[in-house]
Structures are given as C-alpha cells and as structure tokens.
C-alpha cells in the first residue's frame, strides 16, 4: 500500500501544544527586552586566552565613566569571569519585571553564570549523562536566551556580550536576537591568533553581522606578529586599539570614544 501522506506544513489544524507559538513568544520576549538597548555588541574572538573578558570589562567601565549606560552579559557560560572582573556579587533579585542585573564597578550592570553556579563547580545540568552532547548545546542556548530576555536590563546605551572562544555562541546569538549583533573582535599579535580570529570574523560576515573593528590585545613583546594589522586590512575595518601589556591610564577611555 502506498500512503499519500501530506507534509508537516500541510497540517494546519489548531494544536493545543502551540510549540511554534511558544518559540515565537520566546523570541518576542528577547526582542521586547532589548528594545530599550541602543547597541548590542558581541565581543568575540576565534581564539581563547586573548583577553576578551578583560577588554570587555574595561571597555564597559570606560563607557560608564563616559556617561553611557553600559551593561555586560557574560555569555561564557562555562568559564564565567565577568562577575569577578567587574566586582559584582549576588544575589540576583527576582522582581515582577524580571531579574535585576547587579551593579558592578563604575556602575556597569552585569549578569554572569558565576552568579548562578556554586563557586568551584562546573555548570552541570540535570538529566541523563549519556550522550549529553545531543541536548547540552540546546540547553546552553536556552540559558543564553533567558539571560537576554528575562533580565531587566533597562534602558542601555550599550550591552556588551562577552563571548567564549570560538564561533558557536555567536551563531546561537544570531538565532536568538532579532538581528545579528555588532561584533568587536579581539586578537593578540600572533599569526596563530590571526588564523583563528579570521575564521570567526568570516563567520560574522557570513551571518550579516556588522564588524566594528579589531582590538589587538597584549600588543608588543613577547608576542611577535601583526595579526591586528592583517585582519583590519583583510576585512576593511578599523584597528580600534593596540593594547599593551600595561595599558596607559587613558587607553580604555580612548577605545570607548571610538565606539561613538
């Protein structure tokens, strides 16, 4: 017997589960929450250990000192460091409007998984351990969506998203946010870093994310190389800062000024 079965989209009768509507509502919740945020900027790098979080925290503080309402979402769920870098300790207040972000150094608002997970413990989820790779990524994306949509960020000029190394979290953000975030890229001078960051920047371009520019961190000895120069030439974006191992007092203020 040959069955003549219609397609999924051909079946349009009302569905009490309303799964599609639930997903749409999730996205609308994020969009509504971020409607009062002027700029959402992902600080990313294809390479680990280049100082993304350090740059993010100091840039946010400089923006705040410059009079702009700035916040940081620590999107590195498994290696959160923003809470310590901004000296922001919990607990988080759950209010009818949502979770209130904590105020850190220079008044920068932030939320980090470090506020939620026990000190010294990994981010572990309830559920079957076998083949957890199948669902763990989905769960982390859901957590990221909730941190964006359930935190009452308030009116902000800039929300910085401190991403973990690699491209995965950026791609998740592109699916969660109403549109791709602007991207601020951090590299160190070495060719190896340049190779990894180049791939991440290409992924951002492929998803239609505007590239704000490149920050070369840990610039100068002992690192040799010119990754920052190479990347800005290849992608046609500005080199926003070359940050030495011991930044001058006005380094962060100058960087903040370049972000308009």
């Amino acid at each position: 017997m040959t069955l003549n079965i219609r397609t999924y989209h051909d079946l349009t009768e009302p569905d009490r589960s309303g799964l599609l509507a639930q997903v749409v509502a999730q996205r609308q919740r994020v969009a509504a929450r971020l409607a009062s945020v002027g700029h959402v900027i992902a600080v990313m790098s294809g390479k680990g250990g280049v100082g993304k979080s350090y740059v993010t925290a100091h840039l946010a503080r400089a923006l705040a000192r410059d009079g702009r309402a700035a916040a940081v979402l620590d999107a590195d769920l498994n290696g959160p460091t923003i809470a310590r870098l901004l000296d922001a300790a919990g607990p988080l207040a759950v209010e009818p409007e949502g979770v209130r972000p904590l105020a850190g150094a220079d008044g920068v608002r932030c939320v980090s998984m470090a506020h939620l997970v026990q000190d010294g413990q990994p981010l572990a989820f309830k559920g079957p351990e076998a083949e957890s790779f199948i669902w763990r990524g989905t769960l982390e994306a859901s957590a990221l969506r909730e941190l964006l949509g359930d935190v009452n960020w308030g009116a902000l000029d800039v929300l910085l998203l401190d991403l973990p190394p690699g491209m995965q979290r950026f791609l998740e953000l592109c699916d969660i946010l109403p549109g791709p975030p602007a991207v601020l890229t951090v590299t160190i001078p070495t060719a190896e870093s340049g190779d990894a960051v180049r791939r991440a920047m290409r992924a951002a371009v492929d998803r239609g994310a505007p590239l704000l520019g490149v920050i070369e961190n840990m610039s100068g000895p002992p690192f040799a190389g010119r990754a920052g120069d190479d990347l800005v030439r290849e992608f046609g974006v500005p080199l926003l800062a070359r940050i030495p191992w011991h930044p001058a007092a006005d380094t962060w203020g100058q960087l903040a000024g370049k972000l308009g």
């Binding site: 919740r29 199948i134 359930d150």
Partner: protein, 149 residues
Amino acid sequence: MKFLCVECDRQMTFEERQLPGDGTLAAAFKCPACGRVVAMLTNPMETQLVASLGVQIGGRTVPVQPLETVRGMVATGREDAFVEAPAVATATGTIVWSAEAQERLTRVPNFVRGMVKKIYGDYAKERGIAEITPAVMDTARAELGLEGM
C-alpha cells in the same frame, strides 16, 4: 512534530501529557474523526532535549517565570543565587502556607524554591485559595503538570 491519522487523513489533536517515570515523556494524541488515540513516548535523552528547548508539549500551564529553564535544569546552582519579590497577596490578604506545606517547600532546592513558591502562590491566588496545604500543592502539581516540584 505532528501526528496524522492516516485512515482519516486528519491531524490528531493533543489529549494528555504524562511523565510515567524512567525519564519517559508520554503525550497522547486523538483523531478528531475516528477517536483513535496514540501515545508518543520519548526516551530520557529525547525528553531532556524537549525540556532543553524551554517549550511544553500540551501548551504552557503557568506563565513564563524568569530564568525558568536555568533554575529548573542547573544541577550546580548556588543556594544563595536569588532573592525573591515579596509574596503575592489575595483580595483578602497574603496567602498563607500551612506548616506542612512550608516543610514540603523546604525540600525543594533553594536555587529553584522561589520560582516554585511563586507558581503555587499564583495558582492559589487565581483560584481564591487562602491557604496552601500539601493537598493544594498536589492538586496544583497534577493540574499544571509540575512533576518534580
């Protein structure tokens, strides 16, 4: 995912959701034409995947709670992660928790306790229940599909 009654060529409609144990999620669907019922059973990994999406098969029974997936799924949450807003009040005053209900609530990890308490509080408020007892909690859990809370 949708279910089609091939014989009737009709989309089957959701009837009931159960968690019978062993990590199984059971969802029953019924053909609106012939009345035939089928049940979809997921294995623990599939159940976890559905939960990870933050959606509820059968539709939502309670309003979205802040960070509900994080609070419901993180196993290593801090006991002191959250402070909650004051308890809800009914038209006649604040909802009272019986001693037995409070004792049961203390068995819920603090990481998720505030959210669970609010869900039960909202349930009582919507129904004009002045005191939450273990019986009310059981009824709410069954009605709202809050297995594990």
